[in-house]
Amino acid sequence: MRRLANRRLAEECYLDQPVGGPVLCVIPRLGHHRRFASVTVRYGSVDNRFVPPGSAAPVEVPAGIAHFLEHKLFEDEAGNVFDRFAALGASANAYTSHTHTSYHFTTTGDFPAAYALLLEFVQRPYFTPETVKKEQGIIEQEIKMYLDDPQWRVYQNLLEALFQEYPVRLDIAGTVESVRRIRVEDLYLCYRAFYRPAQTVVCVSGDVDPEEMARLTSRLMPPGAGEAEVRRLYPEEPPGVAFPRREEAMPVAEPVLYLGFKEGSTGERGEPLLRRELATQLLLDTLVGRASPLFSRLYEEGLIDDRFGASYLGEVFYGASILGGETPQPDRLEEELRRGIAAARSAGVDRAAFERGRRKLTGDALRSFNSPQAAARAFGSGYLRGIGPYDYLEALDALGVEDLEKRLTEHLREDNLAVSVVRPREPAKDR
């Protein structure tokens, strides 16, 4: 195994990457009660068009299938996998994002047994027409829950406004209609195409022995024979946004406003991607972060509160800066934010704010290693984008004001901008 360490963070991890097998990352956390493991598959909601391994014909599957698969893996001939984790004193869960699907558990009990169960169940698909039908009912309720959630709606609407073609514009769970179209054969097709050891990242953190974990992992998830790989088909995303504005009325009390700037330069991995991500995040912090003049003015005028945020989403094939939150006056807030960014474009980035912001991101980096689960998650997300676990601080040190200014003129541009607003449908009831 290869040991990676970082003195400043007082962190270390052990990596193993057998040919054709999963990448294993072990983050030792001596003295912690809880042990955590995750299996992350490079397969998300954007992977709905592909050429299956060994085939020549492209296929398109119903939206939401990666998420459906994630639900369904928790059931096999013997029943519900949650019960087996529970019997081992472990608690399991999973999530599906646009780019990946992740299964994880935490335990304070028998770790090797729960680890074996995790690696086994993700390799054992079992789908029948009855179990698929049952899951359609459950996922329909999940989709409806999100339809009533203004935070999710305003975000989803923004992605639909920003992207013209790229499937990040499709809801991760799909729609009630697309989910009803999913059949057993689709699930097996997608499972066989994407769930392969070589497409998998395994993370373990807690009080464990790295070498022992490597031995266990190679036994439980042996490398696949040199099979053909799936070919993922992503559409070309044209420049410019799909719609400059999306509005939705909901039975809520408080409006929500998000502004999004679509990333124009995509396709990079590793250091350039990390550099872009940090420069943009730091830029957003200096413009609208807690210590910025704009934040305090908007806060003092009652247009925003603690729930306001600004962050950069930096994936390989798509990206966006997203800022906003709940506000009593979405139109005025939109105007203020547009004006504030335009003013920054002519004034440039304040050097002192840049230095303070960099210090803050250093503290954030430290904090992110507090939770073993967050550290493991960060490793997985970084790995899939070609970024090492400790590259962050060095990349941060290497940044200069000019990097931020470059992002300001290249990325935070009016022609990349879309606005999403959720407004109350009816006046809030007096309570």
Partner: protein
């Protein structure tokens, strides 16, 4: 635990497990007519103090302290309200040039509490106006989160003649009536008289930390007020049903029960196990029956309010499935009460709860919050004691505790005109 001369009680959990130190100052009050006055304080004091008079000055100071995080908060634990100031700082050993980072952080907390930004001998009117409006919006925006809204409405209906009905931020009209001079007097009073605790996780040697706390937080107090415990209420002879309509896609069903058992009661652990078998986990009856077998819901679970002694079941369903969902939920509780659960269900629940207790040791905020729940209920126990109690619970005790559970109110938030 160290009681300082001015009555502040320091609870220190030394550990090197984390890269940051977490400090929380907790000011206690009864949940009642003063709710809005107490609730605004953490937010108002975060607006500025003598040394850092504006939000921006404070934000800059926090960035200088290596991205220290200051989080104001308000907790409602039964009928106790707790105003919380949380400061999370990098542990000194992880930053290149720490100086006295911990002492500076503590000093910042002292300034926030004892030297708020003032105007005419009271709180600044503009700061108060802003924070008052923020909290009014936060109370109203409960309607944005339908799941939380339904749970709150259930508690409000169930406890409509009890203090527990209040939102942790108080009522809108109480917030709207806040006034700088009157609030200043109130604050000076409770800062002097009410229980004030400092919790610290990490932060080096206990003696050194206690000395620093004593030196920095030495402002005069009497700490004379003792706050009582939360009274249990009674379920009505026949359960009430409350139905509310909004244009939602998914109906939210909440069932509120009285358990006649609070955290202070020795039978509480058995009740918590009963709740675990019923609905707290993915192996519980509610998840298995309502979601996995009947395919009625994405989420269906139960939770306890330990200080008021309530059990609340919550599920998101199609409106048309209301009668069937309600019936299945009540059947699951009846099964627990009849002792109709396997040894495996009991042991799985015991293991899951054990994991929960141990896991909260790994999360400083959770560890502190657990301690405050214990403190408020007069039963502050360490992990070992809590685990021992859990190990000793028998199936008979679970059944006995569950038989005290009575349905009080059923609340349904349902759609109109939406498929």
């Amino acid at each position: 635990m160290t009681r300082m001369p001015n009555g502040i009680v320091l609870y220190h959990y030394p550990t090197t497990q984390f890269k940051t130190v977490t400090m929380m100052l907790c000011l206690h009050q009864r949940l009642g007519d003063d709710a809005a006055r107490t609730a605004v304080l953490p937010f108002l004091l975060r607006r500025g103090c003598r040394g850092f008079p504006s939000l921006r000055d404070l934000a800059r100071r926090l960035e200088e302290l290596y991205g220290a995080a200051l989080e104001p908060g308000v907790w409602k634990l039964g009928e106790r309200q707790v105003a919380v100031w949380e400061l999370e700082l990098a542990e000194e050993r992880f930053v290149p040039d720490p100086g006295d980072l911990l002492g500076q952080g503590m000093e910042l907390l002292r300034q926030l509490l004892t030297e708020p930004a003032t105007q005419d001998g009271a709180f600044r009117a503009d700061y108060l106006a802003g924070e008052r409006e923020n909290l009014i919006r936060r109370v109203q925006s409960l309607a944005n989160d339908k799941r939380a809204y339904a749970i709150f409405r259930l508690g409000e209906e169930m406890c409509r003649v009890e203090a527990f009905a209040r939102h942790q931020y108080g009522r809108v009209e109480e917030l709207a009536a806040l006034e700088p001079h009157e609030l200043w007097g109130y604050y000076q009073h409770i800062l002097r008289e009410n229980p004030l605790d400092l919790f610290v996780v990490g932060g080096g040697e206990p003696e050194d930390l206690a000395r620093r706390a004593r030196t920095v937080l030495d402002f005069p107090r009497t700490g004379g007020v003792t706050l009582g415990t939360t009274p249990l209420g009674n379920a009505p002879a026949a359960p009430r049903e409350v139905v509310e309509e909004q244009q939602v896609h998914q109906a939210k069903l909440c069932l509120g029960f009285r358990t006649a058992t609070t955290y202070a009661d020795p039978a509480y652990t058995a009740l918590a196990v009963a709740n675990g078998i019923l609905g707290a986990f993915p192996h519980s009856k509610l998840f298995r029956e309502v979601r996995e077998r009947a395919s009625l819901a994405y989420y269906a679970n139960s939770r306890l309010e330990p200080t008021k002694g309530l059990l609340i079941v919550s599920a998101g369903i199609n409106a048309a499935d209301y009668p069937r969902s309600r019936e299945i939920i009540l059947q699951q509780l009846a099964a627990v009460q009849a002792g109709d659960f396997t040894g495996e269900e009991l042991e799985n629940t015991r293991r899951a709860m054990e994991r929960g207790i141990l896991a909260s040791e790994d999360v400083p905020e959770q560890k502190i919050r657990d301690a405050v729940v214990g403190l408020v209920n007069g039963r502050l126990e360490g992990v070992a004691e809590r685990l021992a109690r859990l190990r000793d619970v028998t199936a008979e005790q679970v059944v006995e505790a569950s038989r005290r559970i009575r349905l009080d109110t059923v609340y349904l938030l349902t759609g109109k005109g939406v498929a």
